[in-house]
């Protein structure tokens, strides 16, 4: 199985990024509250920024999917977060990674950025679809949630630019070499 060929260094980087993304989201939520539009923008922006950096650092097929699986396992162990979304997120991750391969592979910077944008869009859309199944009796609530998700996605798109800038800084520091 191709997972066995992963060096421990890359597995550790995925774990560290999963932790940073979880903690950064919590810190931003603590600072600004969950229903604050500014918080939503910032939280999603940081999320995609870090995902872009992760893909630059670990350029392998399966990085996004592994990141999702690890976050889900630790989320279930430590935070009781919704395991119900896991299948949808894995589908989103695999589709995004297939698209990255189609758009030029992990060596292509634009493909990485577009892949993260697609992953976030698919993840959010599939989650909203699942929410519709769960809350179809309350369409007003779903519309509100959709608006919040749309605000969040705007933050994600801004985060893509942030990710590229971040990688540039990391190259200056010699932390990202390619």
């Amino acid at each position: 199985m191709f997972w066995k060929n992963w060096p421990v260094r890359d597995l550790i980087t995925v774990g560290i990024f999963a932790a940073i993304i979880k903690i950064a989201s919590l810190v931003v939520a603590f600072a600004g509250g969950g229903m604050n539009p500014l918080t939503l923008l910032l939280k999603n922006g940081i999320h995609t920024t870090l995902l872009v950096v992760l893909l630059y650092k670990v350029r392998r097929f399966g990085t996004l999917t592994l990141f999702i699986c690890v976050s889900a396992v630790v989320g279930l162990l430590l935070m009781g977060s919704g395991i119900t979304l896991l299948p949808a997120m894995i589908v989103a991750g695999l589709l995004a990674e297939a698209c990255i391969l189609l758009w030029g592979g992990y060596g292509n910077a634009l493909a990485l950025v577009l892949g993260v944008a697609l992953f976030d869009l698919l993840g959010k859309s599939l989650s909203l679809g699942l929410s519709w199944v769960m809350m179809r009796e309350q369409p007003a609530l779903l519309i509100t949630v959709s608006l919040m998700v749309a605000v969040g996605y705007a933050g994600s798109v801004m985060g893509l630019g942030g990710g590229v800038l971040f990688v540039r800084e990391l190259r200056h520091a010699g932390i990202v070499r390619r």
Binding site: I20, A24, G33, L42, M79, G80
Partner: protein, 257 residues
Amino acid sequence: MRALYVDSGMLARSFPATLNVRTKLALCVLSSLSAIVLSAPEALGVLVVLSAAYALSTRNLRGILIGYLLVGAMLGMSVLFIVLLSLIWPVLSEVEMKTLVAPFLRIMLMLNVVFGLALTSRIQSVLTALKSLRLPGFIYIPAAVMIRFIPTFASDFKQIRQALKIRGYPVHPWALIRHPLRSVRVLFVPLVFRALRSADDLAMAAELKAVGGSGGFTRMRQESFGGRDWAVLGVCVAAVLGAVLLQLPHGFGSGMH
């Protein structure tokens, strides 16, 4: 690499430090499942009281109080913005305000059990416990690193905050809200830089310890599953059953989140 907090004085002698890591992980899983299934405040309340006693037994009163204050502040901000949004969208106030207690209790429950695990466990014990769950290496290594990284992240944050104070930058929630871009630049960027350096250090340490290798390991410390662990698990299962009984009159439909 910096040592885990378990090696520092009082915490090493605390009650959760004497428990097997598998017991602490089992408490986390039970609490997670309870947080997913339960929604009645009285059912969650019982578990929160018990988990608070468990968290307090780590003897890190200051850290726990800060955690509680942060959760309270986060929910306070959420309420404020719900009130503001309900002026534009009245249906939001009907739905959200009455369902705010259960999420708060869920967060408190998970915060308490995570304190017990993260602040009193050695990374090697967590690795061994995750491996004993028969999880594949590509899942358990990043998962263990993720848990191990919590104290390192807290230490990095403290150092960066001190550096910012010396340079005259205010580091408190209000400053984060007032200047979000500046906060990202002076706080978040250095944190990621340090995290990436930690990743390199951890990777080197892991390679030297042959983590991920296929051979068998000889453990320095043999962790036994004793009577104390069975007793704690028994109390925990009884408490969850009690909470389920309290949940029964309310039904289980609205508990999923």
